[in-house]
Subunit: 330 residues, 2 copies
Amino acid sequence: MSGLDAHDVEEAAANLQPVAVRTPALTALSLDQAAGWPVVCKAENLQRTGSFKFRGAYHHASTLTSRERARGLVGASSGNHAQALALAARLLEARATVVIPADAPAPKVEGVRALGGNVVTYRRGIDNRDALVAEIPERDGLAVIPSANSRRIMAGAGTAALELLTDHPEIETLVVPVGGGGLAAGSAVIAKHLNPGIRVFGVEPEQGADTLLSLRCGQRIALPDAPSTIADGLGHTSPAPLTWAVNSRHLDGVVTVTDQNITAAMAFAFRHLKIVVEPSGACALTAILSGLVPHESGTIGVVISGGGVDLPTFHRLITTTPHRKEPAHA
Amino acid sequence: MSGLDAHDVEEAAANLQPVAVRTPALTALSLDQAAGWPVVCKAENLQRTGSFKFRGAYHHASTLTSRERARGLVGASSGNHAQALALAARLLEARATVVIPADAPAPKVEGVRALGGNVVTYRRGIDNRDALVAEIPERDGLAVIPSANSRRIMAGAGTAALELLTDHPEIETLVVPVGGGGLAAGSAVIAKHLNPGIRVFGVEPEQGADTLLSLRCGQRIALPDAPSTIADGLGHTSPAPLTWAVNSRHLDGVVTVTDQNITAAMAFAFRHLKIVVEPSGACALTAILSGLVPHESGTIGVVISGGGVDLPTFHRLITTTPHRKEPAHA
């Protein structure tokens, strides 16, 4: 499989147009004041199933042959990819099987089931998830829909940036979270195609900086331990091969954020943007509010990537994270 | 001043186009399942300053003469109209004075000040607010920007419905909250113009059903006491004269919702739509989730009108309202 190009993203956009939400680009004077620059937020937490993941999952699944789809789809996720896959399958009249850890939060499992998805659980730390996911397609003939490591997943994810930059061509710096790296890869490719002068930065949690360290080393590295961060969707130990191939060429840099600053950004988004953002989804906004992203002029674009957090967890994170910096602007 | 017509709303839309957010029309399978019908939510909590109020305040203020504006603007509000007026004034390079009760929540007062507004406080129950508001323009020559009782305020408010029905002409029933009545009036006029067969329903809190009772009596009535409801933005005791003239002709009915069901709708919106909605802003959604609005076929449009609620209050309302009905769908 060759690299990702802008045409892949444009093709995905045409494919997704009838089914995905064209999410809003939110602005607020209070945000500009807090960031020190004009900021536009692409609110992918308002995408179907609450994250940008729907774009890639649907695009990948819809480009399978009808015969492949008829045998069913399978993917592994304890988070947003699970519901995205379940909805994509439902819309395409296919069956989805989602491999989820047995201790995943009940609402996420219920969410998959409510969309008609078939849930297979495994015991975290006991069963080998990857072996399980590899075994199912082999045994049952299902097509695997990866969460990031696929050209079509990257292309689908990049359509959010395509919409944002089409609506706001004045953006000179684009900031996106990096987990599996699909969103960063798709975003960077389409952004540089639309505006060769744009700078694209990834954001990782401090404890899960596998892409940053890989960039420093000039090659993919793996973290020795699973990251401990509230940004669970970005807790990868190593960049995926296909996303790394793109991100190592196209990203202008990666910055890291702390859990403490992530919760401050979640509180800011609740108060000033009136949206619910999960920790992983708030990382790019966090980097901007913390002044971590190099930026010299013009507008900053930020992708808010997901809203998969329940109220008790949200409230606990905001109220118990120590030394939270309360945003000063209304 | 004569009645409101569709041309007023279209004119307001053209005027607001460069400054207001075209808020998204949100959909979710879980919402359709819970409501029993396809539902589209116009998310005006994502409007600038967090509510639809910006539309009317800006439209009214911008149609004043530059000489009138130069003398400054004044309005009374403890809620969303205050910040809307402050931002409208700022954008129009005018000074805003907002009359706010001394015991109003600090974030709201700060919000007005952060936007450059001048805050005048009064003692609720001791000072006469209306006399105070009447005195300021007379003394200082300021132009009053009412929160609802103005043709241009109603027209501005109606532009949210115009956008929603342009994007979703399949809507056969439109549901909007009724406080001062400006949103309901503007929405009903433009909706019936675009689709004479559409039905438009207002929603009031059970304890503040002044418009419902007025409709039943065939004339404006006043409630003897200030309503006690968490939907503080809809706690009016009597319909305003201009909005009543429109709503009494154009609304197909008004239904009422309980505080308990409002909090369930707020929790639903947090969980499934990933948005922050204040009690008043959730009333139309509440009516739909509670099955209170007569509807026989097609899609329902709902206006989510505001998000002016802080996290401690939001959390307290959701967790302490008794007998809350937890939505069953994911």
